[in-house]
């Protein structure tokens, strides 16, 4: 059981390192958000649960901490992404599509269509 928990903790530590490597290397706020959120959530979850498996007395409280991270980390990162999109942080040069910009451009047309339907 101890060996199993140590292996899981090691996998979590490697995921944490890869996530922060992505934060250093990727070109854009949104790419960095993606690397940071996914790798860090899985890495922290595996590290904490691995400690709980190694020491079975601590398992309930470590599971509480891990579930809390699993719920709140994507929420806070999504809030930061939404804020940076609304405050106008640009995409990088190589990005292909920008759906929010397209939505903003075609929004007046949709409003006109809805008004025409209402008048008819």
């Amino acid at each position: 059981m101890q060996v199993f928990g140590t292996i899981i903790t090691g996998i979590g530590a490697i995921f944490l390192f890869l996530g922060s490597l992505g934060i250093l290397r990727l070109p854009d706020v949104y790419n960095r958000l993606q690397a940071g959120t996914k790798c860090t959530t899985l890495g922290a979850f595996l590290t904490i649960v691995g400690v709980g498996i190694t020491q079975p007395d601590w398992l309930p409280k470590t599971l509480v901490i891990a579930l809390f991270i699993l719920i709140t980390n994507p929420i806070s990162n999504h809030a930061i992404g939404r804020a940076s999109c609304k405050s106008g942080v640009p995409l990088c040069d190589r990005s292909v599509v920008d759906k929010t910009k397209e939505f903003e451009e075609c929004k007046p047309l949709q409003d006109e269509l809805e008004q025409n339907e209402e008048t008819q």
Partner: protein
């Protein structure tokens, strides 16, 4: 309190991860980059606190990690609202 080999390796890997995020926090072109780096550092620190509690054999560190996670979440939502000019 004696370190064995695997705990040394884990602490080194996690320390390197925090160092890379710190570089991005110093470099980052916009405020959002710095906010993302701080968020990642905070999550890594929560995992590090649990690991340190296991190494030192102290149960109290789990409570510290739980409170740290809650405060980090609240603070980052506040930072996001501030970047959105909503406060």
């Amino acid at each position: 309190m004696e370190f064995n080999m695997s705990e040394n390796v884990f602490l080194t890997i996690i320390g390197l991860a925090i160092f890379l995020c710190l570089l991005r926090m110093l470099k980052g072109p916009t405020a959002s980059d710095r906010a993302v780096a701080v968020d990642t550092i905070a999550t890594i620190t929560t995992a590090l606190l649990v690991l340190l509690g296991f190494i030192f054999g102290r149960y109290v560190y789990l409570d510290v990690a739980l409170v740290y996670a809650v405060l980090t979440f609240i603070g980052l939502v506040a930072i996001a609202r501030f970047l959105e000019k909503g406060i």
